[in-house]
């Protein structure tokens, strides 16, 4: 799928963001096609996480706009964006460590539940009904899907890094996302965990019809999974296209290697799942 064909589900245009003197993003623009897997790559410090934070509404860009399903969301607060269907995971895992896996996942549904304080205090009628339905759906659609049945009652703090990443994805899925943003979903995972996660990402797209926007360093995975790759360097988009186009782009190779051996990198970029973060 190539951007520009269908109406994009997410559009970023002319985003500029700075922290004091550091320009984290400069005139960043790209489009995410519905149903695609779009990946943002770039060297460390390129501004990928800053871009995600701007899209989810933590940072207010100095200029530029963000459109989601054709609607300008640049001025909305993060909770509203969540409600519209923008869900994400974090590079440094932002689970609620004292809560169980189940409660963490249930939290994802917050914006779609209707229980108010009175319902909650009496736990009657709507509250009970909603909680039961939520529990069932979380169990049957998310916990089974991500194969985390065995840990549902555990506090997340005792889980391995790989499992925590998976729980974070579960929580994002509970948000009924239209676009799922994953910031380095396989960083720090071993090969088996990485392959599991790659499978989940593909399945989410197939079975849930969710559009995926991710940041990833694992080149093999990027090239295997993505329909569309956006390359950031020093806060600017230096390339944007299919994996094959991006791989062949000399700018990209230069950005990744500085003045190093270009042919070697080209080879590395072509090896699936061989290059770690």
């Amino acid at each position: 799928m190539h951007p520009g064909k269908a109406n994009p589900i997410l559009e970023v245009e002319g985003l500029t963001l700075s922290f004091g003197g550091i320009k984290a993003l400069t005139d960043v623009g790209f489009e995410v096609a519905p149903g695609s897997i779009t990946t943002v790559i770039g060297p460390n410090g390129a501004g990928k996480t800053s871009l995600f934070n701007t899209i989810s509404g933590f940072y207010k860009p100095a200029t530029g706009r963000i459109r989601f399903q054709g609607e300008d969301i640049t001025a909305t607060r993060p909770p509203e964006r969540a409600k519209l269907g923008l869900a994400r995971s974090f590079q440094n895992i932002a689970l609620f460590r004292g809560m169980t896996v189940l409660d963490n996942i249930k939290l994802g549904r917050h914006a779609h539940l209707r229980t108010n304080v009175l319902d909650a205090l009496f736990y009657f009628g709507r509250a009970r009904h909603e909680e039961m339905k939520l529990r069932q759906e979380v169990e049957e659609r998310i916990i089974d899907f991500l194969e985390i049945d065995h840990i549902r009652h555990m506090p997340v703090s005792v889980l391995s890094y790989g499992l925590q990443k998976r729980v974070e994805m579960a929580r994002a899925l509970a948000m009924r996302p239209k676009v799922l943003m994953l910031d380095e979903p396989v960083a720090g995972m071993n090969r088996e965990e990485t392959e599991d996660m790659a499978r989940f990402i593909l399945d989410v797209r197939e079975e849930w019809g969710v559009t995926v926007l991710m940041v990833e360093h694992d080149m093999g995975m990027v090239m295997d999974l993505s329909d569309h790759v956006v390359v950031l360097n020093f806060g600017q988009v230096i390339a944007d296209g299919t994996p094959a186009e991006v791989q062949a782009n000399p700018e990209v190779i230069k950005a990744y290697l500085g003045s190093g051996d270009v042919s070697e990198l080209r080879q590395r970029l072509h090896q699936p799942l061989a290059v770690g973060a």
Partner: protein, 346 residues
């Protein structure tokens, strides 16, 4: 031994008390609470009423501080709002008792919403100071709004009267306070089975990512303040019916510290913790008094020992903070776990 929990359905899994043993304990507790007034003397009934009031208020503060992570030193002042509301309604309009208590809760809740406004910007120590400032302002209002509060002299409250029965003894008030407090505790427990309670905990643990999950911070922080001060208001209303006189000095800052200590000693962010904490904070000073009373001492020595009592009380609190930071509820959990596996593993 408790039988390992076989989950038959999600409904079962989601219930507050999910094992037969828990139901049995609950029944024992209910019988004990029902039987207690018939065996206890006036002094113990007095303490029981006081404990009920303190549990209600501590449970409220626990929602705010223990579960939402917002430190408040205004709980006593909010109780004051509830107490004055009840006293004024009783004196001026003579409205029904339960309505007065509810009104006390709601007026305190309004106060809580106003005081909670800075919480979006300030946290921790700064928020605590802001709530102290609010307490000072409220004290000023209590002392100077003569037409409503009666100034420094305060308001004398008539005994609560429901359906012609006058609740003028601890024995009778017990039957009013214990059910109300039980309902309030149950309400708090229910809260944390739903999205509202989960949102509070999320804000406590990581407010930034809570926002990305779709939780509007200001609304939920205010909600937590509102609920917490509603609990304080109802507790203050009960307090007014219990002590029957409300003055500006009835709700000093030290009382707010008392509730905060109860939340911490009991175990922050657990329902049981607030109960145990309130019982501990109310009963230990009394127990120490009793112990000193039993010692074969002259009247003079007893007098000298009175500050020692306070010191021992303080030391006990510090001891808890150092040796059991998770509070009394953690000790209780350990005991339970022991019996859960007993006699197969000790």
């Amino acid at each position: 031994m408790r039988i390992g929990t076989a989950r038959s359905s999600y409904r079962h899994d989601e219930s507050l008390f999910d094992s037969r043993t828990q139901h049995a304990w609950l029944a024992v507790l209910a019988v004990a609470l029902l039987g207690f007034p018939f065996f206890a003397d006036e002094y113990w009934l007095y303490l029981a009423c006081l404990v009920a009031i303190n549990i209600a208020s501590t449970t409220g503060l626990n929602i705010l501080t223990g579960y939402t992570g917002l430190v408040s030193l205004g709980q006593a002042a909010f109780m004051g709002i509830g107490a004055y509301t009840v006293a004024a309604l009783e004196q001026k309009l003579g409205t029904p008792v339960l309505l007065n208590l509810l009104a006390g809760g709601f007026v305190a809740m309004l106060g809580g919403l106003v005081v909670g406004l800075p919480s979006l910007r300030v946290k921790g120590l700064y928020l605590a100071i802001a709530t102290i400032a609010a307490s000072v302002v409220l004290h000023f209002v209590f002392a100077n709004w003569h037409s409503v509060t009666g100034g420094h002299a305060g308001i004398t409250v008539a005994p609560a009267e429901i359906l012609g029965v006058s609740f003028d003894t601890s024995f009778r008030l017990y039957w009013l306070f214990v059910p109300i407090t039980a309902l309030m505790v149950l309400g708090a427990a229910n809260l944390f089975r739903t999205r509202i309670g989960r949102a509070f905990i999320a804000i406590r643990d990581r407010d930034i990512s809570a926002e990305v999950l779709g939780i509007p911070l200001l609304r939920y922080k205010l909600l937590s303040f509102g609920l917490s001060s509603f609990y304080a208001g109802v507790a203050g209303g009960m307090w007014a019916y219990f002590f029957r006189v409300v003055t500006p000095e009835s709700f000093p800052l030290i009382m707010s510290i008392f509730f905060l200590a109860a939340v911490i000693v009991g175990g922050m962010g657990t329902i049981l913790g607030a109960i145990l904490g309130a019982v501990f904070m109310t009963m230990v000073p009394e127990a120490l008094k009793l112990i000193v009373g039993w010692l074969p001492l002259s009247a003079d020595a007893t007098l000298i020992l009175s500050p020692v009592r306070t010191i021992v009380f303080g030391a006990l609190i510090v001891g808890f903070l150092v040796f059991e930071p998770l509070g009394l509820q953690e000790i209780w959990r350990r005991i339970r776990r022991f019996f859960h596996l007993w006699p197969f593993r000790a």
